[in-house]
């Protein structure tokens, strides 16, 4: 496709406009209160229309025998942009001398909420339009409520059609006082109320004599005062962890600083677990020198001094002013999806990068989608386009903030099926962690059946599993097993170690070290592990278990009963193990004091396809332990569909 440029033309536009940055505004209000007319006016009065456009529309109107209206301009623009493409335009740019603007989401959508939320959530400012004659109407309320939920704080109210009420100040003041009261309930305090006539162009770009009693700015003057939304820089640190990368020896924590700032050397605490470390470095590719600090809004990659277990979803903060944590949140939510959202049916709640199974445990009130009045009775369900106050219970603790305190970590979306169904903001957050205690007392209302494995898993917050650590004596099995046990315990995962030596003191005391006895030893350990996993524990089996067939047998035992099984090969070369020789066993085996010692006088059959291999001679204990912990956490994670089905059955839905 060839494009013609006119490179020789002398600059007429403001060449100092550095980038594409624009103030994004959304214009909302009740139907027929003048949205289209106002947009047409803004375009016209800022000379943002193509040349001849007004004349063209004026002529077309005359031919149709109609009076010219500015609303036609918008229609024409939309039509032009939408020509041959059956989609509605979402971005209408215009500019003033000061800067560029974009009007997001032109009015006229039937699918009001879904598209408007997507567009308006990124708006810097809003114009709430209200008819001077009609005053507050349904959508005047609903749109305002939505703006409050979306956290848009730069708002100007345009009281339109002043020409139809004789430019009377009393009428304007009446609307202002009524609407101020209503908006106040939503926590909205508009920066300005401006009496206008979009049709006649009064108080659009500058003060008009007809409305000389108005001492405030005209609409455009009010807009020019607004700021392009910048992330707040005076809030405590919230570092939202996206991922942990191990592309090389570095263990890199990637995430975004949603609020606050971060310095190399500072202590950082990760929630909801509360583990802490210090920031060792800020990694940046191609940087002349590594940064020592990072600011709000930056996507960064950091490394830590101490290797602590953190995972995606964690929120990092400074030691004080951390987020709240708990399993329950009180929120206001809006629902966009056709399928309604009922009580007690599980969904995925996403907050920051946390993603957790949750459900509504209480719907405090549902507001009628048209009147915004609370519905009578307790509906127990939230329908499309309704907004509601709810109590949500998550399967495991999450970190969060109150929306009015830190909005970035105080809002969430709800995913049902595979799509975002709605969003919400958190109204209450107990920063003393009392909520979790209160929530723990509440029991599940739908427990009816005998205790199945799934229900145990629900109680534990994870499922039972068997991790089978195999490797030579001295390869590091016991060290890793105990380390893992500790890490899992810290994370609230119930675990237990089955150690080969320990078993031989009791359950397997009658067994020797012949190939046959070794097999029986493994079989008993495997069956025991299966039972304990059935009971819901994560069983860490630490046995040399030199023979492939024996290990495969345990795998079969577990899989037969649907127990997740992970074979972990603790791999260290024989000479390294022998050099370590923590208990002097190799020395004794070499001296012939121990018969059939694996690696010396008895073979070790290395796993062919272990689920995890840890090379303890090549990597640090911290790193291998982290890999192992990560693996164990994943293995014990309850698969999403299983939860959903089980809960749905239990809830009788």
């Amino acid at each position: 496709m060839q494009t013609t440029l006119e490179p020789t033309k002398v600059p007429t536009s403001d060449i100092s406009v550095p980038t594409s940055q624009k103030l994004r505004i959304v214009i909302v209000g009740h139907v027929d209160h003048g949205k289209s007319t106002l947009i047409g006016r803004l375009f016209h009065d800022t000379n943002s229309l193509p040349e001849g456009k007004v004349e063209q529309i004026r002529k077309a109107s005359e031919l149709e025998g109609m009076e010219f209206e500015f609303a036609f301009l918008l229609d024409a623009l939309l039509e032009e942009q939408a020509q041959n493409i059956t989609i509605d335009t979402t971005q209408l740019p215009f500019r003033t001398e000061k800067r560029e603007y974009v009007i997001i989401d032109a009015p006229g959508h039937k699918e009001f909420l879904k598209n408007m939320v997507t567009g308006a959530a990124s708006a810097d400012a809003a114009i709430l339009l209200i008819d001077a004659n009609e005053g507050i109407q349904e959508q005047s309320k609903r749109h305002a409520y939505l703006l409050s939920l979306l956290g848009i704080r730069q708002i100007v109210v345009a009281v339109n059609k002043m020409d139809l009420v004789g430019y009377r100040q009393e009428r304007f003041e009446k609307v202002r006082s009524d609407y101020t009261e209503f908006l106040g309930k939503l926590g909205i305090v508009p920066q300005h109320f401006v009496p206008i006539s979009a049709k006649l162009g009064l108080n659009i770009t500058k003060a008009s004599p007809e409305l000389e009693w108005h001492k405030g700015p005209a609409i455009l003057e009010a807009l020019e005062q607004f700021q392009i939304s910048a992330p707040p820089d005076d809030l405590p640190l919230r570092f939202v962890l996206q991922d942990i990368y191990r592309f090389d020896e570095r263990r890199i924590l990637a995430g975004r600083i949603e609020t606050g700032s971060l310095q190399v050397g500072q202590e950082i605490v990760f929630w909801p677990d509360g583990k802490s470390s210090r920031v060792k470095s800020i990694e940046e590719w191609n940087a002349p020198e590594p940064p020592t600090s990072a600011l709000v809004g930056e996507s960064v990659a950091i490394t830590l001094e101490e290797q602590i277990f953190v995972e995606r979803g964690d929120i990092g903060s400074a030691p004080d002013h951390g987020p709240a944590e708990g399993r329950e949140i009180q929120a206001s939510l809006f629902w966009l999806q056709n399928d309604p959202l009922p009580l007690n049916v599980p969904f995925t709640l996403k907050l920051g990068t946390q993603s957790v199974e949750a459900r509504l445990v209480e719907i405090t009130r549902v507001l009628d989608s048209s009147t915004l009045e609370p519905l009578a009775g307790n509906p127990g369900i939230i329908h499309k386009n309704e907004v509601a106050d709810v109590r949500i219970r998550a399967r495991k603790p999450i970190a969060f903030d109150r929306h009015d305190r830190i909005s970035e970590t105080g809002r969430f979306v709800i995913v049902t099926g595979k799509r975002i169904g709605g969003g919400g903001i958190i109204r209450e957050a107990d920063y003393q962690d009392e909520m979790r205690l209160a929530g723990a007392a509440e029991n599940l209302t739908w427990t009816v059946s005998p205790v199945t494995r799934e229900l145990r898993a629900e109680n534990f917050g994870h499922r039972g599993a068997v991790l089978w650590l195999t490797g030579l004596s001295g390869s590091g099995k016991s060290t890793l097993a105990t380390g893992l046990d500790y890490h899992l315990h810290r994370r609230g995962i119930f675990s237990y170690i089955l150690d080969g030596d320990n078993l031989r003191h009791g359950l397997c005391a009658n067994l020797g070290f012949s190939a046959e006895d070794r097999s029986e030893n493994i079989r008993r350990a495997g069956e025991t592990a299966r039972l304990m996993a059935e009971a819901g524990l994560v069983v860490i089996c630490s046995l040399i278990s030199p023979f492939r067939a024996d290990r495969e047998n345990v795998r079969k035992i577990c899989h037969r009963d649907g127990i997740p099984f992970g074979e972990v090969f603790i791999n260290a070369p024989l000479d390294v193990c022998e050099a370590r020789d923590p208990r002097g066993l190799y020395k004794r085996a070499r001296a012939g004091e121990i018969k059939e010692f694996t690696g010396i006088s008895s073979p070790y059959e290395a796993p062919l396809a272990p689920e995890l291999e840890l090379r303890t001679a090549e990597h640090t204990l911290e790193n291998t332990l982290l890999d192992l912990t990560h693996f164990a956490v994943e293995l014990s994670r309850i698969p999403e569909p299983q939860i959903a089905e089980e809960l749905a059955r239990g809830a009788g839905i």
Partner: protein, 278 residues
């Protein structure tokens, strides 16, 4: 943070979300300016390591200079590069009864067969569940309503009338079997932002973007790069990035005029995109 910093931070955030969300991610790479910005942002997002394959759909009508650039960049960036050609279409075998090319077919057909179909072939072969694309909202009206994470069905179709909501940086990451997600980290960037970023970061790009003397004594440069039979240079004296940016700002009005192409071309874009073109 200035505006470019903000755009960069958001794109990096999106790339990292994509890498986390999908197990088999791929980044088509045209070697054009936007595409090279994406490579650069990927290096930044993952601290120097691009953890997904980069895909060049080779139409066999590539400018030699572009292929040179490809090989240079493959080494320079340590790319896991996949080069895909719709061999059947070029050779006129398989489902093709004759060779498809600009010599014999119209540009819409050729673009569809050698780009979109080639992409579909490689998607089927490699089972990618998400593609990172470099499209921008300001490029074309059909792209204005795009999402950062935009689902495509098994036929590559885009259901623009019923798109999932996307707000507060929460994206559509779950897909049905056969679906894939288009991840579009540059959606909010404007053409001028791309150039300013290339200038700021000193990102290598093919030199065909800069003005060179033509046979008629005038100077020309390429404003976008595609297959050589249908990509024509524009008259321009911009020989460095600052001059290109200055040119863009000056020619703002004619740029809009350029976008309002004749109906054949407008239809062409829509037709291509409806069938899975980026």
């Amino acid at each position: 943070m200035d505006h470019l910093d903000q755009l960069e931070a958001q794109s990096v955030y999106i790339l990292r979300e994509a890498y986390h969300s999908f197990s088999n991610l791929c980044m088509p790479w045209s070697m054009g300016k936007d595409s090279n910005v994406l490579i650069w942002l990927s290096k930044k997002a993952f601290c120097g390591k691009i953890p997904y394959p980069v895909l060049h759909i080779d139409t066999t009508y590539e400018f030699p200079e572009m292929l040179e650039f490809r090989e240079w960049a493959r080494k320079e960036y340590d790319l896991d590069l996949i080069v895909k050609i719709n061999e059947d279409a070029r050779a006129g075998r398989g489902t093709y009864t004759q060779s498809v090319g600009y010599e014999t077919h119209d540009p819409v057909t050729v673009t569809h067969e050698l780009k979109t179909v080639a992409l579909q072939q490689v998607m089927a072969e490699r089972k990618f569940d998400a593609l990172i694309t470099g499209i921008r909202r300001d490029e074309d009206p059909t792209r204005a309503k795009e999402r950062y994470f935009s689902p495509r069905n098994a036929e590559f179709e885009w259901d623009y009338k019923d798109q999932p909501p996307e707000f507060w940086n929460q994206f559509t990451t779950a897909i049905e079997p056969g679906e894939h997600i288009r991840v579009q980290p540059l959606l909010d960037w404007a053409e001028v932002d791309i150039w300013r970023y290339i200038e700021r970061e000193k990102i290598p790009i093919p030199t065909m973007y800069f003005a060179r003397p033509g046979d008629d004594g005038k100077k020309y440069r390429f404003r976008s790069l595609g297959c050589w039979p249908i990509t024509k240079p524009v008259e321009s004296t911009a020989s460095n990035i600052s001059e290109i940016i200055a040119e863009l700002l000056v020619t703002k009005t004619s740029e809009r005029a350029g976008r309002a192409q004749d109906h054949h071309e407008r239809n062409a874009m829509q037709k291509l995109r409806a069938k899975g073109f980026m």
